[in-house]
């Protein structure tokens, strides 16, 4: 997409989410009239189909183009599966299937027993089954909701397969690539949530006084904030690196998987550090359900696990390095994009 178009769609999403009520944004099961109205607005503005082809009513956007949207959604702790739906729509469209309307989920491509993110919010999900790209319908009565999970994630029955449509997956769409594209938008959302955590922690520590001065004036607190800022900056850089890789060729290739792995590893690691430091600086207030911090940290902890944890991706990446006849890190660190 052109730079101007990109700016228009990111500014547009920022405006829509900025105007939306907290009830619409943070409604964990994505149900209720506010969340539904928000989805209708997003759909009315063409967001869910950005990555679908022009024939399917989309804009043919590269996944890298929409990572800014995933970051904005993360910064607002948006419960609805906007980024998932955009990627799911793009995958279906690439296989020649017109994406259904309504939110669409993405299944874990490397572990079919993993919970389906947003299960209670979507009417269908996309998965990859023995080389077949499938659009599968979902009845919410089949979902076993994970009680402590965010945004309606849940398990499906083992033999769940109400397949609406399936086609041979495009040759580039390996299970690793499917998982990587899903992991990439999680990394981008984490980067956004970390920016929100930084802002929140900064304003809280400036206002809250103890021992007669604002917490922000204590060096120990400043060091927590510095850690949050550094990790957030690294996360943003990691997502940009993966975006550049995704834009480097017209069709996805395995080199891109390495760069996305790096983004998911780095953002996943940062999420732990950022959440811990922010909660420490907030004291007991941050540990309440009511205060805003938890909306972000709970999602950070969930997103770092979805579509491969940082350790799982590090194992994949490390195996790639160590399987070579002459294992070498420097050639990979310095690889041009």
């Amino acid at each position: 997409m052109e730079r101007d178009d990109l700016k228009m769609i990111t500014d547009g999403l920022e405006r829509i989410l900025g105007d939306a009520s907290l009830e619409a944004i943070d409604k964990a099961d994505g149900q209720g009239s506010d969340a539904e109205a928000l989805w209708t607005t997003l759909e009315g503005n063409g967001y869910p189909r950005l990555c679908a082809s022009l024939d399917h009513g989309g804009f043919d956007a590269n996944v890298a183009d929409i990572c800014g949207l995933a970051t904005i959604a993360g910064r607002h702790a948006l419960a609805l599966p906007l980024a998932d739906s955009i990627v799911a729509g793009g995958l279906l469209s690439a296989g020649g299937i017109e994406p259904p309307t309504g939110p669409i989920g993405l299944a874990n491509a490397l572990d079919t027993s993993a919970p389906l993110p947003h299960a209670m919010q979507v009417g269908a999900y996309v998965d990859l089954n023995e080389g077949r790209l499938r659009c599968v319908r979902l009845a919410h009565s089949d979902v076993t909701v994970l009680e402590q999970a965010e945004d309606g994630a849940g398990h499906l029955p083992e033999e769940h397969a109400d397949v609406v449509q399936d086609v041979a997956a495009p040759s580039w769409l390996t299970p690793q690539m499917f998982q990587a594209l899903a992991a990439f938008i999680r990394a981008a959302s984490m980067a956004g949530a970390m920016q929100a955590v930084l802002d929140l922690t900064l304003s809280y520590t400036r206002e809250r006084e103890q021992f007669g001065r604002p917490l922000a004036k204590f060096q120990a607190i400043q060091h927590h904030l510095s850690d949050i800022a550094c990790e957030t900056a690294a996360s943003i850089a990691a997502v940009e690196l993966a975006s550049d890789a995704l834009r480097s060729a017209p069709e996805p290739n395995s080199g891109m998987i390495d760069e996305i792995a790096i983004a998911k590893i780095r953002c996943g690691q940062a999420a732990s550090t950022v959440a811990a430091a922010a909660h420490q600086a907030h004291g007991a207030m941050g540990f309440t359900r009511e205060y805003a911090l938890g909306r972000f940290t709970r999602r950070l902890w969930q997103w770092q696990d979805e579509f491969g944890t940082e350790t799982e991706w590090a194992t994949l990446l490390g195996n790639t390095v160590l399987s070579e006849p002459n294992p070498n890190l420097w050639l990979r660190i310095s690889k041009p994009l």
Partner: protein
């Protein structure tokens, strides 16, 4: 402070990278050097520096009329990162090439530029940093070294410490007080001087570091008569000039690559013994290094655009220093269970060298605590 712009390498940069790699491979093969951890501080070899000068790899960004090569800053980045990744003996010229030369180019007299810069880019002139003092470390504005005017120029008295390579250097940029502090504002009244270390009244004594290498020094200035033009830049502008120097000093690849050479050496052995723990550690280290390099390149880009990205540089150094220490810790964990007889030749020494240099990573060029303070100030907390 969160946006690190993308730096695109031009095609010349990749040709340059191949040339540097070929040079390093041939030097390694003919015994020109033994890879060292922390090589930009601990491995000084004037011959090696001269060879780099012959190839046009020093003073790369400076104007041709001063012996430079008028190349973009990212070409210098390519050369320095390749040298660090190989553990090459680059310490002798490192400071002159990284900051002193650029500083002379910006603030020096025409005569100084014509005299000194071509020698630096030939790999024949080395320099040291004169900031810290026995009573002024992190609190740099507390320095007591003073310069007073006389009819021949300036008289310099005081003591500088922790100056890496002062014992083989030809010049030192010394931060000195030229007028008193104004109340609590101690950053005024400081000036920088370009000091020829062969002048009478200068006594340099080596200090052994933790590992026993005399890489840094204490330098005593006893009423050293400096010429008028030793004043570098503007009188009283020393603090601001110093901070500009630190932006150059803090963001480069030497802030996260110093221990890579140790891990790289062990990698084939780790590959033979790979299990989930070792494999995921290698993947995680790669992710961290790749991202930090991207950020460091972002700072290089900002410098290339003429900005002075002091906070972004602090971010890179703070994270980089913790990472290079972390790499050594994780490497030690990965080694558990591998019999010593399988360790490659020279690995034991290399690892020990890296361990003994760990404390300095998070101290030199601004401690982790100082850097965190800079980052907090940028966020309006101080």
């Amino acid at each position: 402070m969160f946006q690190f712009p993308r730096l695109d390498f031009d095609t010349d940069a990749e040709t340059l990278r191949s040339d540097v790699r070929a040079f390093l491979a041939s030097e390694l093969k003919n015994g020109g050097f033994v890879p060292a951890a922390d090589c930009w501080v601990s491995a000084a070899d004037p011959d090696f520096s001269r060879k780099m000068g012959e190839r046009g790899w020093l003073g790369m960004t400076w104007p041709r009329e001063y012996g430079g090569h008028e190349r973009p800053a990212h070409h210098r980045f390519v050369v320095t990162e390749e040298m660090l990744a190989a553990g090459a003996p680059v310490a002798a010229h490192w400071i002159a090439d990284r900051q002193t030369g650029s500083h002379i180019l910006e603030y020096g007299t025409e005569e100084q530029k014509r005299d000194i810069l071509p020698r630096i880019s030939a790999g024949e002139c080395f320099t040291a940093i004169g900031m810290s003092e026995p009573q002024a470390g992190s609190d740099l504005a507390a320095i007591q070294t003073a310069a007073t005017r006389n009819d021949k120029g300036w008289v310099l008295s005081g003591r500088k410490i922790w100056s890496t390579g002062a014992h083989y250097s030809h010049f030192m940029i010394v931060l000195a007080r030229t007028s008193p502090a104004e109340g609590r504002n101690r950053q005024v009244g400081l000036s920088q001087f370009l000091v020829d270390l062969s002048l009478p009244g200068i006594h340099i004594s080596g200090i052994q570091d933790l590992g026993g290498t005399p890489h840094f020094n204490e330098t005593l200035f006893e009423n050293v008569q400096l010429p008028v033009d030793a004043l570098l830049g503007q009188e009283g502008n020393g603090w601001a000039q110093c901070m500009g120097e630190l932006a150059l000093e803090r963001s480069g690849p030497e802030r996260f690559l110093t221990s890579l050479v140790v891990l790289e050496k062990a990698l084939p052995m780790i590959a033979r013994h790979r299990d989930v723990r070792r494999v995921s550690e290698v993947g995680s280290i790669l992710a961290n290094l790749r991202v930090l390099r991207r950020m460091s390149l972002g700072v290089a880009r900002m410098l290339e655009d003429g900005a002075s990205p002091a906070t972004a540089a602090a971010v890179v150094k703070e994270m980089g220093n913790r990472l290079e220490n972390d790499i050594v810790a994780r490497l030690r964990a990965m080694l558990a269970g591998i019999p010593r007889r399988e360790w490659p030749d020279g690995f034991e020494n290399l690892l020990r060298e890296a361990v003994l240099h760990l404390p300095s990573n998070t101290l030199r060029g601004g401690t982790t605590e100082i850097l965190r303070g800079i980052i907090a100030r940028e966020m309006g907390m101080r």
